[in-house]
Amino acid sequence: MPTEIKMPQLGESVHEGTLGKWLKRPGDAVAKYEPLVEVMTDKVNIEMPSPSAGVLKQILVEEGQTVSTGTAIALIEEPAGSAAKAATAPAAGQPAAAQGTQAPAPRAPGAAARPDSTDGQRGGSAAQVPVRARESAPRLSPLVRRLAEEQRISSEDLEAIEGTGTGGRVTKEDVLRYLEHRRAAPAGAAASAAPPVAGTVTTPAEKPAQAPGDQVQPLSALRRTIAERMARSKREIPHAYGVIEVDVTNLVRHREAHKAAWRAREGVNVSITAFVVRAATRALREFPALNATFTPEGILVRQAIHFGIGVAIPDGLIVVVIKDADRKSVVGLARELEALAGRARQRTLTLDDVSGGTFTLTNPGVFGSVFSMPIINYPQAAILATDAIVRRPAVLGEGIAIREIMHLGLAFDHRVFDGAVAMRFLTHIKQQLEGFAAAGDSPEF
């Protein structure tokens, strides 16, 4: 009886996945936890490990198809005498398991079968652990509940842990494995937790009537997530705005003079964005309230600065995160930004690349915007926007000169701080950028 392999739930509000490349073909042997197929979510591609060992019997969903969580995507034929039933049987009633005549533990498939059947012949049940139709094992043992409490595993996450015990029970080992995984990618859980609980786009009360020629384009997973996030951000965070002008002439000229040399020496394009991020991280150190999140219990001020930068990709927008950005130089930031943007465009981002952000920069200026009012990247406290650098006449001293002027904007959560703090933050960045003094031909400042 082959076992169904189902589309797993890849994140708290992720309800579907698109299959990428099948890494095994029908007839191939598959070891437990060996990568079976690529699954693409709205953000990243992951390799799905096979929950069972055996031979891949049939592929039910082809590459490129999108299916909802829980859909059977393949069939695996498990070796005879293995504990397939233990892993996949529903929770209700395990009398067969209690009999001891069925091969038990997933750990010892082959070896267990013989002594058990011998005992059965001897009528050994009376001498063994009593044979009673055991009710479904309670899903969470005292130890599992305690671990969940001590390690702060939310009840939702706990529910989502796949149980390898009898009847799908979550065992101690399952929890420990989950914790190890969580340690490896801690921000992943936080990122998945961010989207709205309902997991649906707030639809209008009535659907707009369709006229001939109108077309409904189904939402891609990415589009859906963006929609959810944006709606939630606007719904929950009272946005307020501040904008200042920054005269970046010195910076621009310095860069124009040296960017080719920098490229040759460092192997990377040092963009204006890298300079802005450098200045912004310094400002975030001065104004920690901007590196925070509003919670009913209080303002959660983050210690680390994980700087997110919006990158446009073909069907949408994704925020890549530079971890500990305040510890990086301009060149370091430029390098990491280039790598991340490249991965974003090639769809090879990892979960770590897109999660854990504490502050975000968006750059609509690259598309020509001179003034923008961005939406905060929920659940952060603020988002910085750099608009286009415009060459125009400006007052300089007592005269007029042609200067490079950039609007620098901030959308912020008015619950966390007020306009005065917002403007002082922006002014701090402005002063750094305007006071840019070229140190030889170095990009650092």
């Binding site: 750990r107 010892a108 005992d119 050994g124 001498a127």
Partner: protein, 327 residues
């Protein structure tokens, strides 16, 4: 250090205690001139004489009753009940007199007797020579109950029992007399009554056993290890007072408890261990504390295949362990 059989260790303890303290007296059926039906007391009668090694009539209530009388008169009696199956006529003496003497006399009188009780099946002893009775006695406040496994413990715990100022029941599994060998330290080796000991460390489950079942559990652990299941085997050794600390520490390490004893499962001593673990070690448990014991049969069968079926062994223990680990 010398490699000794289980019964040699018991013999040596008796010999040494008889030599050490003139007040010590060994008494029981066939212990003197015959040297014991298993040979445990061989040579003691010749060495210490009929005043120190007494052949008693065939009357267990009298054996224990006389011992109690000896004890309150300053002697240190070490009575033997030839087979645990025969101890029942002495139950009243043990429970109603020996166990409560100190309490009843407000500490004026103790009862320093150590009752040696060969027990257990698997030797074709049939219905009246194979019983386990430890559960009845572990239940009684005022008594101590020990069940050694290693020869070193056999010697050390018997010495401790003989020197104990209060009544001790010392259960020696007759199948282990010649089956179990081990190193016994030289000199006056005494093992304190009370502490349990981890015989084998493991991480996947704890097996709590005593007597012959420790031997079988270690065998099961070997088999399980080859399958990737590491069982911790704890030799309980003293049933009363129970070393709950060692038991709970073990469960804290492994989160699963399997209690094994040869005695009938229902109402056996394993229930006390299981209940203690459930009550006091609840937060450590990833599976219910589980008992493996003898079946619901009033006596160990005579027919060999039936006796095999009754007795627990390494294979059955391993099977139970696998089920527990798969929970």
């Amino acid at each position: 250090m010398a490699d000794k059989r289980f019964l040699d260790a018991i013999h040596d303890a008796l010999h040494e205690e008889l030599a050490r303290d003139d007040r010590t007296v060994v008494l029981g059926e066939d212990v003197g001139r015959k040297g014991g039906v298993f040979g445990v007391t061989e040579g003691l009668y010749e060495k210490f004489g009929e005043d120190r090694v007494l052949d008693t009539p065939l009357a267990e209530s009298m054996i224990v009753g006389v011992s109690i009388g000896m004890a309150v008169n300053g002697l240190i009696p070490v009575p033997e009940i030839q087979f645990a199956d025969f101890i029942h006529p002495a139950f009243d003496q043990i429970l109603s007199e020996a166990a409560r003497l100190r309490y009843r006399s407000n500490n004026d009188f103790g009862c320093p007797i150590a009752i040696r009780v060969p027990y257990g099946g698997g030797v074709h002893g049939a219905l009246y020579h194979s019983q386990s009775v430890e559960a009845f006695y572990a239940h009684i406040p005022g008594l101590k109950v020990v069940v050694p496994y290693t020869p070193a413990d056999a010697k050390g715990l018997l010495k401790a029992a003989i020197r104990d100022p209060d009544p001790v029941l010392y259960f020696e599994h007759k199948k282990m007399y010649r089956l179990v060998r081990g190193d016994v330290p030289d000199g006056d080796h005494v093992v304190p009554i009370g502490p349990a000991v981890v015989r084998r460390s493991g991480r996947d489950l704890s097996i709590f056993a005593y007597g012959l079942m420790v031997h079988e559990s270690l065998g099961a652990a070997e088999a399980l290890s080859r399958e990737g299941i590491e069982a911790e085997v704890v030799d309980v050794r003293t049933l009363r007072p129970l070393d709950t600390r060692t038991l709970l520490d073990s469960v804290a390490r492994t989160s699963r408890a399997l209690i094994v004893h040869e005695d009938n499962r229902f109402g056996g001593f394993g229930a006390e261990i299981a209940a203690t673990i459930a009550e006091e070690g609840f937060r450590h448990l990833d599976a219910p504390p589980t008992r493996l014991g003898g079946p619901e049969i009033p006596a160990v069968p005579f027919s060999a295949p039936f006796e095999d079926w009754f007795m627990l062994n390494a294979e059955k223990i391993a099977a139970a362990a696998r089920r527990l680990v798969a929970y």
